[in-house]
Symmetry: C2
Subunit: 349 residues, 2 copies
Amino acid sequence: MKFVSSAMLGASLATLLTPMVCAAQSLPTRSIPAHDLPVPTTASPAMQKVISLSGPSKAPASVPTTNEGWNKRSNPNPAKKHQTVEMLLARYKLAMREETIAGVHCYVLTPTDAPKTNHGRVLVHFHGGGYTSGAGEAAVGEAIFVAGATRMKTIAVDYRMAPDFPYPVPVDDAIAVWKAVSAKMPANKLGMFGTSAGGSLVLSAVQRAITERLPVPGAIMAGTPWSDLSETGDSYFLNRYVDPMVYQDGLSISAAQYAHGIDLKDPRVSPIYGSFTGFPPTLLLTGTRDLFLSNTIRVDRKLRDAGRHSELIVYEGLSHGRYIAGPDFEETKTALKDIATFFNSNLAK
Amino acid sequence: MKFVSSAMLGASLATLLTPMVCAAQSLPTRSIPAHDLPVPTTASPAMQKVISLSGPSKAPASVPTTNEGWNKRSNPNPAKKHQTVEMLLARYKLAMREETIAGVHCYVLTPTDAPKTNHGRVLVHFHGGGYTSGAGEAAVGEAIFVAGATRMKTIAVDYRMAPDFPYPVPVDDAIAVWKAVSAKMPANKLGMFGTSAGGSLVLSAVQRAITERLPVPGAIMAGTPWSDLSETGDSYFLNRYVDPMVYQDGLSISAAQYAHGIDLKDPRVSPIYGSFTGFPPTLLLTGTRDLFLSNTIRVDRKLRDAGRHSELIVYEGLSHGRYIAGPDFEETKTALKDIATFFNSNLAK
């Protein structure tokens, strides 16, 4: 029974296991037996139900090769979606208007009762959806939640996407909006945030801003960012049968459409391989069941190694992006409180 | 293919899934198929080898029922262990002496070249080992590593343990040493740290200090703390076949010997159920493969909810306590740098 593990045996392990830097080789894999994974009792009752109901996604019969095809899949009923958006805007006391900023279509969310301390504070949002889904109002929900929780003006960027507009267009659109917004007001009052591909786009945009000597936001939130498109990282395999999201025949398709021939480990499309020097305070969110747990913690590592301020939160029982499952979930309320606390503490007043 | 998950569909999920607070019920478990888990390429080559070689522990044929029995198992060759300790002391340029503080046997580690800024700074260490193992020099390795990395005087507390001395003796010993040390110097220059049961003992000691209105340390590190003895939390199941450490027929035995009849969810033995009000800045360490990932992140949650400063680091590919596997591992070097940075930043000079 070695349950004391290396915690206790640090000293003896040091002599027993002589580390060797060895060439890449095929190491034996671990055989995981078939087993039942219980629903975590540490999640809220409502979330437990969702976890229990959500099995792994199936590979689709066909793959969209146009934006129109992706949109039909991700937002099959735009009228119904619009109703949901209206309902959420009312609930969170927000006004929403469409605006074209630097040629890019955006939704501008304005709290009807923003406190004075938030005057001049603006958040720029990039939605998730694998760089292929989430156009229009389909993915504006996260921006509404965060604008609602922070009571800060929020610009949700409806950036162009693959396959019609692969890399570098999404980053170009993101940075165009950022340039326009940061030209008008002090960047230390401006934040950026996004989840999944949106979180990765936040990282890519900041890397580009630093490289191009543009203003850098005062703080950013990258939720479970798709920082590595290449299926590299422990959690791609640890949570392969746990998170409903799938890489093979799933995410890999969007990755290829976005990268459009660029190597998936190129820092232009997988920001984990880029530089984190000069990054602003960063909030990183993930969950124990997240396929992107490693994509998230590897960013935290890079930020710490670069001497930056990084805050990591791992939510109990949550798979990819589940912290924004819906406004009535305890988990979503908690995450929104975390996000609001972070931006409030780190953006200039 | 729902790979955009709730990240994108936040708004629609909000209407589709009406959360209900329901009574505890039996929810369907997830069936995980038998599969091979690859060694993470994101770990160092030396650590990859260790990960590859370490399968799940087997239940022992017999269970020690005395400290003597546990000691024979955890430190079968004290003379050899002593040689390792001497080697590590030389490597890290530390002097070690035994000292009885408030009636408790301790090892006092003093860097031979501590910088001036560290004068008056002292770290108090509680070792891991399930409250049953790690007596004497068996588990002093972690204290040596941290004293070496921080160049701070470190007192490794050789507290009495179960089964001979179950709860509350380990906490009593911990707090006795803390009282003696904090009576002599300003507490904002004093830290506490430990891993596994040692991490949990840090949390229990701070909770006791706050309750008894004793001085509170300036900063603490609780590495993969055994904050919940009761096998509650997602990672007990997510990493059940991944982490070599086992709960059933393993940890559960030590838990019972330590709690000695107290309910395993009683905050006296499982500090996760206690109060985190008034806690000092806290560093929490865990890994993607850690059976105690949830034990760790749940503490971060409690600290955040109490408005405290909490820093969470999740190491890629690491199971329970692996960050102190040995001084030559890149992972251990990284963790020690993290720990040193944290105490340097958070303890008064």
